[in-house]
Symmetry: C2
Subunit: 329 residues, 2 copies
DNA sequence: CCGGTTGCGGCAACCGGTTGCAGGCAAGCT
DNA sequence: AGCTTGCCTGCAACCGGTTGCCGCAACCGG
């Protein structure tokens, strides 16, 4: 392994000069700089990032701890961080917590001494633990807030409102929300936002029983819906998978989408844009959320009295599954 | 930031002893060891991974470079590496190449000096570039082989054979393969394997025009299929999305799955297990592939004359979408 | 009772860079 | 011409651990 000292010798300068020639070019005469650069290139030299990190105190790495990569919700967040980091040559040090608090803590400890900051996505640890962690290095949470810590959240309530406004604008008055997962905090948020938006718009919201995020759940709900189809003219499903089931089930019962009934989802997995017709959905800008988190980490205001909060807006993607209700409804 | 020297002082020993007490416990008297451990715990001390890496020469990190995280194919591979690494307290340093050769090279250079080895997933760089890289640190490719380098590949041809054998065993004789993406090397592999398996089994394979991995493509193909439905009794689609389209399209045309026609896919995205009935598919053990790659990297035989190759077998998951053909076919 | 082991702990060099400080030199100023 | 100024460069300390080697003390057997 060729070291900086070797390059320096080859270029006939001291290691300090070689170091400066490579990392602070403006501090070195042009001619010297080029001699060093040439020698480095010829010898295939790269600065050793570890050694560099040791002296400078920062590594250029950001740790990202996610619950899992199996849920399509999380990879885009990682991508967002990575992308934002690329601008400055940084990289992502990944941790997967499997939603275990112990593992999360362990990962934070492991990564802590290698990174410039930590992005915790939907962390399971308690507020106190997180705050303690934040005393040692910059920490930002995503999709969760902790008093005293900077955080990034997606404005789902705002998005739900926009989606409902879209449906109301098309003329729908009887709208159903098929929510879930049962008992989830997020679901309550969505339900509340949906109800308020629909009622403010002069409509009526039917809140169906919450279901798990699976296609069968949508199929079952479709059956249930068919009976009340003469009243409900539009359905918002909270999950793309559920929407898929709904779509299949309603079709199976002979209903047309969107002519007889409109469908929309409050997330936007790839598959949903590929149905026929494409389904209207709430695009959740997870990648931007990741990038925002990365920026917050690097601005590194550690813990402050008014930690910065970023709320990233969703975007309504109108595809073919929503249309005005049938005549006379 | 509390350093080892501080702990040592608090415990009344030298830093060397403190170091050994923490990293090589058996070299130190039990009583001393405990005194150090206690001091470390009280002061909230953690060994600085960067400094440690500098002296020991290994970091405990493995770099994983993937083309993207947006394709559901790749995250499981990363998870596999991560999981295999967890056993020894290692972590994953992630790179996303966006399928750009330049970016890939850049990432390899950046990560190279921070990791103990590199897992390149479906790399786009040429063989020569990869071999050159492998001279500097252990490199393993996944889903691609390069002469002289260790690699992990998924045995898709073997899987396709198994899937076809399953269909033949059910009694199907006229089977169609709906492949793609057009022009892909992998598709040719699958086509060849499928043809051989079906013909060996006394059946007849219809190779449909390759399509892009999208639901609409499946819908369109379904229409096409309906006309020849009296001949073909089973279809293997190369992509879950395509299968989904097929399923919708065939149902729309009044055919029942699996009573009238059997469907199967040669990959196994989450959504496919959630159709009604669940779809038979070839489970591709991406996570195991990642874990295998990680093991290879750490055995670190660098480049050798007979670099180790791991071929991970697929697993046929029989769900409800395949059944014997209708009577008399 | 003595020399030889054995076990434990400390000294100091080292990993591969970075950086504060000071010296050397040439150009600029009076 | 003499002195200041400013630009480059080198010296050496340092980042935070690890580890080869040596010394010391206790313990062993003869």
């Amino acid at each position: 392994m060729v070291r900086l000292a070797d390059v320096a010798r080859a270029a006939g300068v001291s290691t300090s000069t070689a170091s400066r020639a490579l990392s602070r070019p403006d501090m070195v005469a042009a001619e010297t700089r080029e001699r060093v650069a040439k020698a480095a290139a010829e010898m295939g030299f790269t600065l050793n990032a570890t050694a560099r990190a040791l002296t400078t105190g920062h590594t250029g790495l950001v740790g990202v701890i996610v619950p899992t990569l199996a849920n399509p919700f999380f990879p885009p967040i990682v991508t967002g961080v990575q992308e934002s980091l690329t601008e400055t040559g940084g990289n992502v040090l990944l941790g997967v917590s499997d939603r275990s608090e112990e593992r999360e803590r362990e990962l934070a400890a492991q990564l802590g001494s290698r990174v410039d900051g930590l992005v915790l996505v939907a962390p399971v640890s308690g507020d106190a633990t997180l705050r303690e962690l934040a005393e040692r290095l910059p920490v930002v949470t995503v999709d969760r807030t902790t008093p005293g810590l900077p955080g990034v959240v997606v404005d789902t309530p705002g998005g739900v409102r926009e989606l409902m406004t879209h449906l109301l604008g098309l003329g729908h008055r009887h709208i159903a929300y098929l929510g879930g997962p049962p008992g989830s905090w997020m679901d309550r948020q969505r339900t509340r936002a949906a109800r308020k938006a629909v009622e403010d718009g002069g409509g009526e919201l039917t809140v169906l029983d919450p279901v798990p995020p699976q296609v069968d759940a949508g199929l079952a709900a479709a059956e249930h819906l068919v009976r009340r189809a003469e009243r409900v003219t539009a359905v918002m499903a909270y999950s793309s998978y559920v929407l898929l089931g709904l779509l299949m089930g309603l079709r199976g019962a002979g209903l047309r989408v969107p002519e007889d009934i409109s469908l929309a989802a409050s997330d936007d997995l790839t598959v949903i844009g590929m149905t026929q017709p494409g389904s209207t959905a709430l695009h959740v800008p997870l990648q931007e959320a990741g990038a925002a988190a990365c920026r917050l980490v690097r601005e590194a205001p550690h813990a402050g009295e008014r930690p910065p909060r970023v709320r990233v807006p969703t975007r309504l993607v109108v595809r073919g599954s929503t249309a005005p209700p049938p005549e006379g409804r």
